[in-house]
Symmetry: C2
Subunit: 178 residues, 2 copies
């Protein structure tokens, strides 16, 4: 296995911090790779009493179109507190949750990206809107049943790998509870 020798920042702008890593390979050769040092992300699957998931649709810069997604936010210190998750939910979808369960931790592109995605289920939702004041663009809300969210994939409405994995894992988590 390669041995990490040195790490140094080579670029920083906005949310991007790119680092150089010097590696010693098994054959003794040295080589340099880059990775994106990105803070962790929380994704929340908000589930209403009737089994619907509350989705958001928002503009995605790299694709230049709006896409279906789930409420999410940056994690600064490793864990999402009840308060932080509920702030996000109230700002993004207009609900707060009385019940929050952590169900998964995903990597995204572990070769190039240090970010982990922490997945939470939010239940016992109560309508409660907070204005964040810092949203750059509109988010629209939609509801679809968790039971057959695969329809959204088949209809080309849902493509995010983290979202799809989170929904499958949410359904599995709930089926084990019952």
């Amino acid at each position: 296995m390669p041995k990490r020798l040195n790490t140094k920042e080579v670029f920083r702008k906005g949310r991007f911090i790119i680092k150089d890593v010097e590696l010693e390979l098994d054959n003794g050769n040295k080589t340099t790779f880059q990775y994106w040092d990105k803070p962790d992300t929380a994704i929340i699957v908000p589930i209403l009493k009737n089994g619907d998931v509350v989705f958001i649709t928002e503009y995605q810069v790299a694709f230049d179109i709006p896409m279906l997604s789930l409420p999410k936010g940056r994690i600064e210190d490793g864990e999402v507190s009840f308060e932080v998750a509920n702030k996000e939910l109230q700002e993004e979808i207009g609900y707060r949750a009385d019940k929050l369960d952590k169900i998964a931790i995903f990597t995204t592109i572990p070769g190039y990206l240090s970010n982990k995605t922490h997945v939470y289920i939010a239940r016992d939702l109560v309508q409660s809107k907070l204005d964040s004041g810092d949203e750059e663009w509109e988010m629209t809300i939609s509801h679809y049943p968790l039971e057959d969210f695969e329809k959204l994939i088949d209809e080309n409405k849902l493509a995010g790998a983290r979202m799809i994995a989170a929904l499958y894992e949410a359904r599995r988590f709930l089926s084990r509870e019952n």
Copy 2:
């Protein structure tokens, strides 16, 4: 919805090309975001006759540990030909496939990353090894049943969101065939 005004490259090193995007927001304000302009990826789910998936474990630079993954490669021109997929498979797992089906296209972090992941199922596998000569570190091979790959998640062996979504979608694709 924001309007994209200008795009320009601000950083390039290794696999990273970071671009500045100037956006005009709905309120008329202008702002700048960055995204990573990354070529598409192919992920292949190789399935043996007995229902086992062939996984690889390889060193992941951003996490500095080996992780369970699936055969994958860069896509240069939008599609993976039968030949390119089979070259990857022969180099990474020592099989070639007589049957290849495209089952999904995922985004990863669509706000910050233009990359799409194209997911293929490879079947009718025949042992056939090719040496690539360009692998930086060892890959080890392992087999686990597709039927209950969730065990790998529960045992903290599998965490890649794209891999997990690909395996769920592979199983759904196969169940619809039957």
